[in-house]
């Protein structure tokens, strides 16, 4: 018995020793090694080096890029995904009709053709959009991609029972047959009045109403072609058939997946992608702090979520010049703001709303969200700087030091007949500590002019459906202010503004993100922009809308969000895309 025990212990020890020695003696190249090489090569990094230019440019091929995600994808299926990072990453295995230009900074907001030869051609007053596909593009199995595959991809994405995660842009805008529910449930229904495919290379979209920005819809992952014969519905995400430079090798949903080169992809058909690494290794559901540590050590190349470093890492990185030099701090197209509800007295008076605008301490707002680097840049209007059409306006300056202009606020209170201030409630999402801190900061700063706020937390899941976003409830419960936030699906005035300033999206049943802007003039401007197909004429209209909403003081802008991104060691072609507010994954490589 004793000898058996001894043998067992010895065997265990030997196994461990073998394991350790095997790992210690490995010869595989690691990211940290390549990173060290780069340091010697003279590519010197500095803070924000990848904001407006390509950091570490290279055309060198080879290597495996390692990505990690603290959470999990909603879905890898192009018809069922709604995360910004997923739309960024999907370009590696799928080609939509149009895509954002793979370039740093403002240039990245331009749309360029991808699967299509050109951007869409509008006709019938922008109610019809036609795209011609490039010749010679194939699926990973060698089958040529036709317009019917694009049409099928869009149609299947309409089935919100099978694909509940995705957006409803196509459901809402295409001129579909009545009660059409997608190709699974509405089998055999003729859908040519919505999408026509007159030949294998042409796809024509017919809309219910004119929409000048349809090219932005054409860049959505739902226009990535899906071969009907290989469609497995809700299970398609387990193996998406690739039309891009990489295809799935292994996919353990919830754990991670690998991409390898797609030998059917032809560089000649694709002017946008370099396809530099030999493959991608993606881990999901990884501890967020662990991701930061691995990025800093060089064990990992990219934090795929692209939302920035964790609080535990921020202090360490920002105080160490060497570490900070390896980071970028982009302003993203997200606004943290407070809705000022004109349905609640006395905020039905413009001057009372203006008093809130002037009295708010913007620095305290910023501090509540985590400060300059991870919270954001103090916002002076709605439209973030990354959205084309943005104009620098500041109708309600918050004093020289941004701590609020008490004198102006008191003037406004007098003008609205409430010289001693008034009482109202402020709603926020109970699960969000930053919103609670912001509500407290506003409570303190508005108290300086006599506006007394009572904090009202509500559950996040029902915030818009039952509480702050339900007009009747908000009015009855005097929710004069409500914390809010909005990020654009793409850098365009329509995508950013329409859902938060168009009064026609407000429903009595609740659920709308717009809980305070009710201005017919704003609605008219949105319609005007929707019909304007000339980009140069359309973009100034977004600035007009921004000015109009601010003039009405329906919204107290807080911050244009920022994140602190860590550049992976040894990664080439690193740049921040304004279109996504994160690193563009499409042309990254390894030294």
């Amino acid at each position: 018995m004793k000898r058996k025990t001894t043998l067992a212990v010895t065997a265990l020890g030997a196994a461990l020793a073998l394991g350790l020695s095997a790992c210690g003696g490995g010869t595989a190249s690691t990211p940290s090694q390549s990173g060290a090489a780069s340091a010697g090569g003279g590519a010197k990094g500095e803070f924000n080096a990848a904001l407006t230019q390509v950091f570490n440019p290279s055309d060198k091929k080879g290597g495996i890029l390692k990505f990690a995600n603290a959470g999990d994808w909603d879905s890898l299926d192009p018809g069922d995904t709604y995360y910004g990072y997923s739309w960024n990453f999907i370009k590696l295995y799928g080609r939509s009709l149009v895509m954002f230009k793979p370039a740093p900074g403002k240039e990245s907001s331009q749309l360029v053709p991808d699967l299509a030869e050109n951007l869409g051609t509008p006709s019938d007053n922008a109610k019809t959009w036609t795209y011609k596909l490039r010749a010679g593009v194939k699926f990973e199995d060698g089958t040529p991609i036709t317009s019917k595959d694009v049409k099928y991809g869009v149609l299947r994405s309409l089935d919100k029972e099978v694909f509940p995660d995705g957006y409803t842009y196509f459901n809402d805008t295409l001129d579909l047959p009545k009660d059409y529910k997608g190709p699974y449930k509405s089998k055999g229904v003729n859908t040519d009045k919505a999408i026509e495919t007159p030949d294998d290379q042409t796809v024509v979209f017919h809309l219910k109403q004119s929409y000048s920005g349809f090219d932005y819809f054409a860049q959505l992952p739902a226009t990535i072609p899906v071969p009907e014969a290989k469609d497995t519905g809700a299970k398609y995400k387990e193996h998406v058939i690739s039309s891009g430079p990489y295809k799935f090798d292994k996919n353990d949903i919830g754990k991670g997946f690998n991409l390898v080169r797609n030998d059917q992809w032809d560089q000649a058909t694709d002017p946008n992608r370099k396809a530099l690494p030999d493959g991608y290794q993606v881990s999901t559901n990884v501890n967020a702090d662990d991701i930061d540590n691995r990025l800093l050590s060089g064990d990992l190349h990219v934090d795929i979520a692209g939302t920035g470093a964790q609080p535990a890492t921020l202090g360490r990185v920002l105080t160490d010049p060497a570490l900070k030099a390896n980071t970028d701090n982009p302003t993203i197209t997200r606004l943290w703001y407070t809705s000022i509800n004109g349905n609640v007295k006395p905020l039905d008076n413009l001057d009372c709303r203006k008093a809130v605008e002037y009295a708010a301490d913007k620095v305290a707002y910023q501090t509540a969200y985590g400060g300059e680097f991870s919270g954001g840049q103090i916002a002076t209007s709605l439209l973030p700087p990354g959205i084309p059409g943005h104009a620098d306006i500041n109708p309600y300056p918050a004093g020289a030091d941004n701590h609020g202009d008490v004198a102006k606020a008191k003037e406004a209170l007098t003008a609205c007949g409430q010289p001693n201030g008034f009482e109202t409630n402020i709603a926020y999402r109970a699960e969000r500590p930053k919103e609670k801190a912001t509500a407290e900061a506003l409570q303190q700063s508005l108290a300086k002019v006599g506006i007394k706020l009572t904090l009202k937390p509500f559950p996040q899941a029902d915030y818009f459906a039952l509480y702050a976003g339900k007009p009747g409830y908000a009015k009855d419960n005097k929710l004069g202010l409500a914390l809010n936030g909005w990020g654009a699906d793409w850098p365009d005035g329509y995508g950013f503004l329409q859902q938060i300033v168009d009064s026609r999206v407000i429903r009595d049943t609740g659920g709308s993100s717009n809980i305070s802007v009710r201005d017919p003039e704003v609605d008219k401007l949105i319609d005007q922009a929707s019909l304007e197909t000339d980009t140069a004429k359309r973009e100034p209209i977004w600035a007009q809308i921004d000015q109009k909403v601010m003039d009405g003081a329906y919204v107290l802008p807080g911050l244009w969000a920022k994140s602190l991104l860590i550049r992976g060691k040894g990664v080439t072609n690193v740049y921040v895309s304004d279109a996504t507010g994160m690193y563009d994954y499409v042309n990254m490589g390894l030294q």
Binding site: A22, Y82, K255, D462
Partner: protein, 339 residues
Amino acid sequence: MVTYIIRRLIWGVFMLAIVSMITFMIFFLVPRLAGATSESLATRYVGRTATAEQVKIAAEKLGFNDPLVVQYGRFAKGIVAGADYDYGPGVERCPAPCFGYSFLTRLPVWPDLLDRLPVTISLALGAAVIWLIAGVATGVVSALRRGSFFDRAAMSIALAGVSLPIFFTGIVSLVVFSYGRPLAFAAPGGSFTPFFDNPAQWAYSLILPWITLAFLYAAGYARLTRSGMLETMNEDYIRTARAKGLTERVVVFKHGLRGALTPILTIFGLDLGLLMGGAVLTESTFSLPGIGKYAIDAITNQDLPKVMGVTLVAAFFVVVANLVVDLLYAVVDPRVRLT
């Protein structure tokens, strides 16, 4: 003996049914009592700009409009008889035991659980071997050298082991022994390799989680063994054994340690059973895709079929561990008779 085992197994099935009902009530009934509607529950499982119509469709698809009894009956039937699932182009059979489909990934839960079990078993068994050997050995030596420097030092370290949470020791150990530092000998987090793919890589990927988890448990075992040994070594039969002229090694290991093992066995069985249901903090800290990580992700996302599945699997291991411990009592302690 056989009658005893059969009776315990039936009792175990009954226990699992109770656990499933309580879990179901916590996650399905309590929100209803707090005012949640079918639609408000369904909003968690649709896209972030879903329309009211989309939410309605999701509520119907997930069965939230049915009475709770019907919803529970459907879940229980799936485990016993399997269920059908409409995945779009067709309907697929989810064979028994079917724990349903994730509300978020819309993939079956049972294969997920089976996929994650090897990670949890690898972690739990490896750590158990380390903590049992280290903990019991330390406890025995401490008891035999009561009051010595070794005893005091070992018990102080044991106290630290019990007191420090895994998310602290885990992150510190990763920072010190991984991430390419001078002392690095272990794999970074999230690098699990299955045993049958590469045993050496398997051990390499788990060595740090094993040691960290074992540090927590070994501390308790060392203290428990020490107190048990101190008590046993003062028993009359130990004096008798010495009087018979047996060597000290035989007295300590054959008579003393055996007597002190019974409570350790009880605790060990329960600890191992609980860990088989997922070492939540260890798996989260080291990003190991085991049952514990699966559980915490399911709870965070309120993915109810996953929560139900993982709770039942964890309860199953606890029930089995209890049965095995009771059976082993009879082996370790001849005075125990199972009836």
